[in-house]
């Protein structure tokens, strides 16, 4: 494994669009259906705000994702890293650093809502790693054979 480099995070802006689409394609078709591309572009053009982050290793874009808050819930949207570039150990290390950053930003807002995400079976164990638990499985929720998993993590598990 090559040594992990220090990551930095920048809020999304248009200059990153091309790189993010490249990362997206690297995750098709295993994690995303290529027809989701239009939805992603719409998100980037119209909804990505300062909480949508680009992950940089040096000056190279290697990942993206971010959080939003709606109806007293936090959500995490469009999270992915470039595939086939990193070994699993390094990828998990980078994902850990990135998830901590997203959670840090949610907590800095001082709104300790639950974090709810919508994902698939493929990512269930990945999000278990950060304390998410599956609360609902919708059969064929993302298309035939692709069940939608709703997972939740309370930012304040005390209450």
């Amino acid at each position: 494994m090559s040594a992990s480099k220090k990551l930095s995070f920048e809020s999304y802006n248009d200059k990153f669009k091309k790189d993010i689409l490249k990362l997206f394609y690297s995750n098709c078709p295993k994690y995303f259906d290529p027809i989701d591309e239009n939805e992603l572009i719409d998100f980037l053009d119209n909804y990505a705000d300062e909480n949508y982050l680009v992950v940089l290793e040096g000056d190279k874009v290697i990942g993206c994702g971010g959080h939003y808050t709606k109806d007293q819930k936090h959500g995490i949207a469009w999270v992915f890293f470039e595939r086939y570039v990193f070994g699993q150990k390094k990828l998990f290390h980078y994902a850990d650093v990135f998830y901590k950053e997203i959670e840090r930003r949610m907590i800095a807002e001082k709104r300790f809502f639950d974090v709810e995400i919508h994902t698939t079976k493929l990512m269930e164990r990945f999000f278990n790693r950060y304390g998410f638990r599956t609360i609902k499985i919708e059969k064929d929720g993302f298309g035939k054979g692709l069940h939608a998993y709703t997972m939740k993590k309370p930012l304040n598990p005390i209450a």
């Binding site: 300790f112 005390i158 209450a159």
Partner: protein, 94 residues
Amino acid sequence: MVLQIIRLKSNLSEEELIKRAKDRAPQFELIPGLIQKYYSKVGDASYAGVYVWESKESISAFKESELAKSIPAAYEVVEAPDIEILDIMFQLRE
């Protein structure tokens, strides 16, 4: 009896954290079913509240309180607190 361990990482200095914990202590003294609470340090900026409860029902009632909701903000946590709940099987001394 049930043991509940709440671990948190705080942005506060230790001195400020202790001050806030002591300021809040009278409210905790009034919680029904809370037999004892130990304020513990785990490591740098890492702390744990160790609660001894009469029952899991006491914990459930506490979870609904404003006091429980206020803990992360009161201690300026930097990540989601971690909770462990242990059933006490028996105790050494009466």
